[in-house]
Amino acid sequence: MTVLSAGRLAAGRRRARRPADTLFRFATAACACIVLILLAGMLIRTTWAAWPAFSHSGISIVTANNWNPNVNQFGGLSFIYGTLVTSVIALVLAVPVSVLIALYLTEAAPPGLGTWLGYLVDLLAAVPSVVYGLWGVFVLVPFVTPIWQWLSSHLGFIPLFSQFASGRDFATAGVILALMITPIISAISREIFRTVPADERESALALGATRWEMIRLAVLPRSRPGVVAAVMLGFGRAVGETIAVAYLIGGIPNKITPHLFQQGSTIAANIALQFNEAASLPLFKAALIALGVVLFVITLVINVAARLIIQRRGRLT
């Protein structure tokens, strides 16, 4: 009798409990799904809005170098070129610096100092891109212009450095991007280096390795895939950066040139700089949205690849 009523009581409570619990679980699952729906929805909605441009220009949006909105030509190859050039400059400058910073903070710095320097480097990531742009225009451009001129006149036999045109150019935009992605690459590299087991470091040191030899033997080989992923995430960030580059690149379409001290434009900067002009021209506007879709696909591929590497690594360790 008692057993029966206790069982009935439990069953009744379970039934009463079920709706609230099920509902709450469903609500949280729905919110989790919003992330996925949002990503898919963003791609679909923007592709749809860009469709007039895709059907007008087809593949030439990404293969032709003729961006002349006033005659309805929308070949955006030069923007892709500018995006890649500035991002590669940023990587060339930022990767060695970021990896060395991460090594110093995890392996060499005195513990207290390391934490503080880590905060400071992270602070670089907290500076908004509009401030980087403002500082870039009024402080960095006057500072680098004589350096670029000097490089141009002394190393001008290298095409990269010849034909100086302006302090607002691919090179300056690359420098500001390098500053912006350094905290990202070094923060992720730091996490990666920290996962190297202590006994591997200690084995190397016990065998008489110096600190640098220990880093080369124990830390770097194990961390290579993770650092590659960190670099890719930095690259993705550089590719998508808009405002700071819009300030510093000059904003000149159709420039595909090996000379780094000349003005050009990037996908993101061009969207920001030309969006107002396009307000009353539907096809122009659709073409800018199409550039946005191209940018989204590029960064999506980079980020998915980087995250896959990090995830696989996480499973291994």
């Binding site: 709450f24 989790a32 990503l39 929805g41 909605r45 908004p128 401030v131 998508g240 946005g292 980020n303």
Partner: protein, 285 residues
């Protein structure tokens, strides 16, 4: 094998290179902060926070009151959208089925989403809201900021929820407390400091965004009312961007002051976020 002396020299050289790398990153940071303070502090006054820009471009005085108000309005809107959704999504990721297929996929794409260019989010909201309503608006700007905040809140809240000791969950469930009740009354309050930190960091990130607002809020030199959300809206970052591209010294000076206010705001948010975490760490001990 090189000699011991050569190996030690190499070690010292590489340590020196590491220190140089740290300086290479920190010196520009010092210059940026110093320049913003030196060029921006002069015009800083109470009226900078409340007054709109003067109508005459060359006139000094006035302030970014419109932008500061707009940024607060739109960040608040973004938070209202993204905090509940983000925290509930994090609850699913950490409390229900953390290793299941949905959680794995959502976690992965939330990480991917943090790397999506903010201007693309602006383009999306432009096509989804501005083209439909035929007007730039605070709604559109706030929604764009909310979308940018969402993945940050999901991931930081999940981390915070995972730090809640399993014993606490089991104790509540063993007492016969319902699952959702356990989450709402035990787990979420315990994780609150961590979640707060994540939300503050997301707010700091959103407040510094320019590109998405260019296409959604558009900008506005006039003070819009606190309650008006249907028209073009100013933002602190948009006013910095517009004024810094002007040839007139008065506008450039205001841009620097705006940058100072923006950086100070973001620093304060980050410091509060760190203080919340630090207090929790002390409390746990």
């Amino acid at each position: 094998m090189s000699s011991l002396a050569a190996r030690h020299r190499r070690d010292r050289i590489m340590t020196g290179a590491m220190i140089v790398a740290v300086l290479v990153a920190i010196i520009p940071l010092g210059f940026i902060l110093a320049d913003v303070i030196v060029k921006g502090a002069g015009q800083l006054s109470a009226s900078f926070f409340t007054q709109p820009e003067p109508f005459v471009a060359t006139a000094s005085g006035g302030g970014f009151g419109a932008g500061i108000r707009g940024t607060i309005k739109m960040v608040a809107l973004g938070s209202v959208v993204s905090v509940p959704i983000g925290v509930l999504a994090a609850v699913y990721l950490s409390e229900y089925d953390p290793r299941g297929p949905l959680a794995t996929v959502v976690r992965f794409f939330a990480d991917v989403m943090t790397g999506i260019p903010s201007i693309f989010v602006g383009i999306f909201v432009f096509t989804a809201i501005v083209l439909v309503t035929h007007s730039f608006s605070s709604w559109a700007g706030g929604l764009a900021l909310g979308i940018l905040m969402l993945p940050i809140i999901v991931r930081t809240s999940e981390e915070a929820l995972r730090l809640v000791p399993g014993a606490l969950r089991e104790a509540a469930l063993a007492l016969g407390v319902r699952r959702w009740r356990t989450i709402v009354s035990v787990i979420l309050p315990t994780a609150l400091p961590g979640i707060t930190t994540g939300v503050l960091l997301a707010i700091a990130r959103a407040a510094g965004e320019t590109a998405p607002l260019l296409l959604t809020a558009f900008g506005n030199q006039l003070l819009a009312g606190w309650g008006s959300f249907n028209g073009p809206e100013a933002a602190l970052t948009l006013e910095i961007f517009a004024n810094s591209r002007s040839p007139f010294p008065a506008q450039q000076a205001r841009a620097w002051t705006g940058a100072l206010v923006l950086i100070l705001g973001i620093l304060v948010l980050s410091l509060i976020a760190r203080a919340v975490v630090a207090r929790r760490a002390r409390g746990a001990r």
